[in-house]
Assembly symmetry: C3
Homo-oligomer: 131 residues x 3
């Protein structure tokens, strides 16, 4: 598998990694199949959502904090149980289609690496599954 190194800068962050992934696809000569994007961190996730208006990402992270607040009925001593819960809600992996050597995404879609307990230096694992 390949690895992407990511540096987040806020406690909650959704970082657009679409361009980095297309570069990796090109560099590896992958043409037709699916790409498994896997986050090996338990306070992170991978999701796909709108990339045209940055307010969408703002609305997602702000309202996710209302659903799962940082402080609450938590026993885990590290103070990041909210981030673990969000990780399972969004999911740590995503499978995307590749054809003609390019990610097949909807018009408004971008791929986001999510970190809910940053800032952190993180990795994303990428596994190619040929068609």
């Amino acid at each position: 598998m390949e690895t992407l190194s990511i540096r987040t800068h806020a406690r909650e962050e959704m970082m657009d990694i679409t361009r980095m992934l297309n570069s990796m696809i090109h560099a590896n000569g992958w043409t037709d199949g699916a790409l498994l994007l896997y986050c090996p961190h338990t306070t992170g996730a991978v999701t796909i959502n709108e990339g045209a208006d940055p307010d969408v990402v703002r609305d997602i992270t702000v309202n996710l904090n209302k659903l799962v607040p940082r402080n609450g009925d938590y026993h885990h001593a590290e103070g990041n149980s909210d981030a673990h819960i969000k990780s399972s809600m969004f999911g740590c992996e995503q499978l995307v289609i590749v054809e003609d050597g390019t990610l097949q995404l909807g018009t408004w879609q971008k791929i986001y690496f999510c970190e809910f307990d940053g800032p952190r230096s993180r990795k994303l694992w990428i596994k190619w599954l040929g068609a």
Copy 2:
């Protein structure tokens, strides 16, 4: 990849597409592998849940609206931030098993295309991954 055209009729809708997918599997002669179901729209999702009692789908959509209401602390001007949040909570893709040319689902499972900002004319992308 193949494409399924879908027309939703309400703002929030979960449409059972199981039969359409089995027809596509049969038409393409796919026998053993996995089918990647990918929604290219940022207010949509794909999920699998109960199909015997329509009240389950009603309970899911109604209570998802309680968790993520249509009106709230949103900056995105299109008025559909709730739909974007739901899209990331349910996820835009699903991978299902195919054996003997048939979707392998649990007794009560059906596959649902979800649209949270309809009614809309939508597409579902389907990529075959042979075993």
Copy 3:
């Protein structure tokens, strides 16, 4: 596909199945590819999260119950609509990387079979997708 039999003991439970999956990978001689973990039950899910401190699993299940309570505005007569909603929030399938005949997981990650309407005798379906 292969099948794993699981017995849960509480209404809501996240059972660590990582060791059982590695045994299955070894027994089948799978070396390089991805493993599709599929829950065929509509009140269950598969998720990946922290396995070092059991308080994390406790915090996830307790706070998921706050988000989606057992009693509420539900029409489904079986009294388990909360479990169906949680199933779609966490998702019924997970795809994980296998290399060198071993699950590739992050340092703190474990794979959990989730049942939200137990105790139950359940199955997990496992489909191998070679690279």
